[in-house]
């Protein structure tokens, strides 16, 4: 499946947001995930051409 991750084309082997986090080796505690502009949970099924963004949780200082 081909999605857009932070505006870049990305080939995903799995099917869900949880799979994407695992494949990208991202700790789920450090990001929220938006798909096509909406916040989603980790079981969200992804589809071709979905636009996914990782929103970092840690910011400021």
């Amino acid at each position: 499946m081909r999605i857009f991750l932070d505006n870049r084309p990305h080939t995903l082997r799995g099917a869900t947001v949880a799979d994407l986090l695992r494949e990208c080796d991202v700790n789920r505690e450090t990001v929220l995930v938006e798909v096509n502009g909406s916040l989603v949970t980790s079981d969200r099924q992804l589809r071709d051409d979905d636009r996914v963004s990782f929103i970092p949780v840690f910011s400021g200082g």
């Binding site: 700790n27 789920r28 929220l32 909406s38 929103i55 970092p56 910011s59 200082g61």
Partner: protein, 295 residues
């Protein structure tokens, strides 16, 4: 995944096994904040609360929550920002804070690091230590001059769990005792600090900001990469992923310890009348004896 109300969930609280839609998440976050305010007696009627703001998500959400709380509890609310002099970062973040305060109708003030002592001019290592000391001092002085009876900070559950562990790693018992939603007062010149977000996870605060369109500045401080807090944060996040609930358990451990210590220190006080151990000013035996004598 569905929220218990049947709507599509936007957030999952993994350690509890619950998922929340935007509306239920907002309700949860607001209730957790207000519960902390009430149970810990953080804000009382007539208080002048100054919120330390940076333009980041914590202080932006804190302003929104306290503004709402004013509908139920009469207190005054102002915002105070510290400009540490970090080029390409602080002016931008404070611009977001200033606009958010204007939107909410909250008075906004800024204090700055003294000329020549800006963070960018501090050439040595340990920027975070230097910055933290000066920020706390300027916030306290600025809040006092604005007539504050409370200084509200946007510290969240993640910050607090990191502070607890950092103090353990540093062997720093004195600082360890200064944590909690309402750290112990340290004298007349110190405005009492309160942390209404202390029991809310950082991730929930970001989610709240996103679903409620609370504007916040998203970049990280350029000096925050090489500090102890960053190392501790990574350890705790790794543990939280493997063992959900770790952060809240660290907070629970601290609260339990403090409670036990309070009980212990109470039990170590002495009766003002007979000098025997007592949990109050007079031991129960003396209270009984004086009651009987007066009858």
């Amino acid at each position: 995944m569905l929220c218990s109300c049947g709507s599509e969930a936007v957030y999952e609280r993994i350690h509890e096994g619950n998922a929340y839609c935007a509306s239920c998440l907002s309700h949860q976050v607001e209730q957790t904040c207000y519960r902390t305010v009430v149970h810990e007696h953080l804000i009382e009627k007539g208080d002048c609360v100054i919120v330390g703001v940076s333009g980041g998500k914590d202080s932006a959400v804190l302003l929104a929550l306290l503004k709402k709380l004013q509908d139920a509890l009469p207190f005054s609310l102002k915002a105070l920002a510290v400009n540490e002099g970090i080029a390409g970062y602080r002016n931008e973040s404070l611009s977001v804070a200033r606009h958010w305060c204007a939107t909410l109708g909250i008075e906004y003030e800024t204090v700055s690091f003294p000329a020549g002592h800006e963070l960018d001019a501090f050439a040595r290592r340990k920027h975070c230590t230097y910055c933290g000391v000066l920020r706390r001092s300027l916030l306290n002085k600025g809040a006092r001059e604005l007539g504050a009876t409370k200084l509200a900070l946007g510290h969240n559950a993640d910050d607090e769990s990191q502070s607890i562990l950092m103090n353990v790693l540093n062997g720093d018992v004195t600082r360890f005792e200064r944590l909690g939603a309402r750290p112990p007062s340290r004298g007349d010149r110190f405005v009492p600090r309160i942390k209404p977000l202390r029991n809310i996870m950082e991730k929930e605060i970001v989610a709240y900001a996103l679903v409620n369109k609370v504007p916040f500045y998203r970049s990280e401080c350029p000096y925050s990469h090489d500090n102890v807090r960053r190392d501790v944060l990574e350890v705790i996040n790794a543990l939280e992923q493997k063992r959900p609930g770790t952060k809240m358990k660290i907070l629970g451990f601290y609260d339990g310890l403090r409670q036990q210590r309070d009980v212990r220190s109470n039990s170590l006080s002495h009766c003002l009348s007979c000098g025997e151990p007592s949990s109050g000013p007079l031991c129960r035996a003396c209270v009984f004896l004086s009651t009987q004598a007066s009858q």
